[in-house]
Symmetry: C2
Subunit: 207 residues, 2 copies
Amino acid sequence: MIKSDNITWHASQVTKQQRQTLLNHKSAVLWFTGLSGSGKSTVANAVERALYEQQVTSYVLDGDNMRFGLNKNLGFSAADRTENIRRIGEVAKLFVDAGTITLTAFISPYRADRDQVRALLDADEFIEVFVDTPLAVCEQRDVKQLYAKARRGEITGFTGIDAPYEAPEKPEITLDTSAQPLEASVAQVMTYLREHGIVPAVTADEE
Amino acid sequence: MIKSDNITWHASQVTKQQRQTLLNHKSAVLWFTGLSGSGKSTVANAVERALYEQQVTSYVLDGDNMRFGLNKNLGFSAADRTENIRRIGEVAKLFVDAGTITLTAFISPYRADRDQVRALLDADEFIEVFVDTPLAVCEQRDVKQLYAKARRGEITGFTGIDAPYEAPEKPEITLDTSAQPLEASVAQVMTYLREHGIVPAVTADEE
């Protein structure tokens, strides 16, 4: 497999398929969408951990690494929110091309924005994961006290309170984190990835 | 190594170090900079091929996948050129965090822009590769006939003709593609990566 440098190099680029073969799995975007507090990041990080345990290369794009980096020059206007999702979609596409299973955890409330990302990718590469946790549950969790502030009018344009959340019409996966433990949500995503041949099946030996 | 899903998941995120361990190599950016026609893309793609042959996960960011995707809403004004490089730097940082050896192939003529990317990354993660092919050679190659157009004044602001190229002051690697064959440039980069412990050494058996 490994060759010395002393061969004649051709200009042929390494293809996505070759990278997937090297990594022993396919690549795709798991696009988590749902209300603030629905559990998008928690599930995405737990799935990343599950993939890592199975030696699958994955990466989570979330507010922490996008809003303070690539998208730090964007605000919260309608145009900037759309550009935020567009850039995340383009980065996810690059990661998929690189062979990485990419998990994104953003509210991404607008159907048109999500569909624009879907259109960037091949049909089997965009997996919309609707984290369909009821608003009442999200509001009760209110880890960052954002719902309380939105209810008091201290924050405006807050998704689910005074800004719309457009639920996916045909998500590939639907999770309700209030109705099942985290392990079950992780298992649901992992089963999808295995059944669609994106990651290898776990053999009985490995269970 | 591989576990079933039926364990209690913790919210702990997978770290860059864990991803590097999984992939069996470190990650870094090889930032190729140089004049149009200097050979940046050719060398970057050949290095990617060499890394692939050694089962190292790498990815090339270049005009093809950036200008028509993430950066398609940018033009060629000074501000847009700076934003172009900033975004590429931020994406490269994400790829390095994901454990991928990332090769970028852009003229990136301004020292300040390149230094801004360097500042985003850890000290040993930014490897500036100065493709120091003389202007006369680049102009003679003129694959895309851009130099000819710039000389005729049909293109303005062309790096090396009527726009400056600010050479790196302390590049980690300097290559002159007019003075050595492609294989030698690739070997030079691969040697750097091995000597700095970024990719594993090739054993005698594998040569």
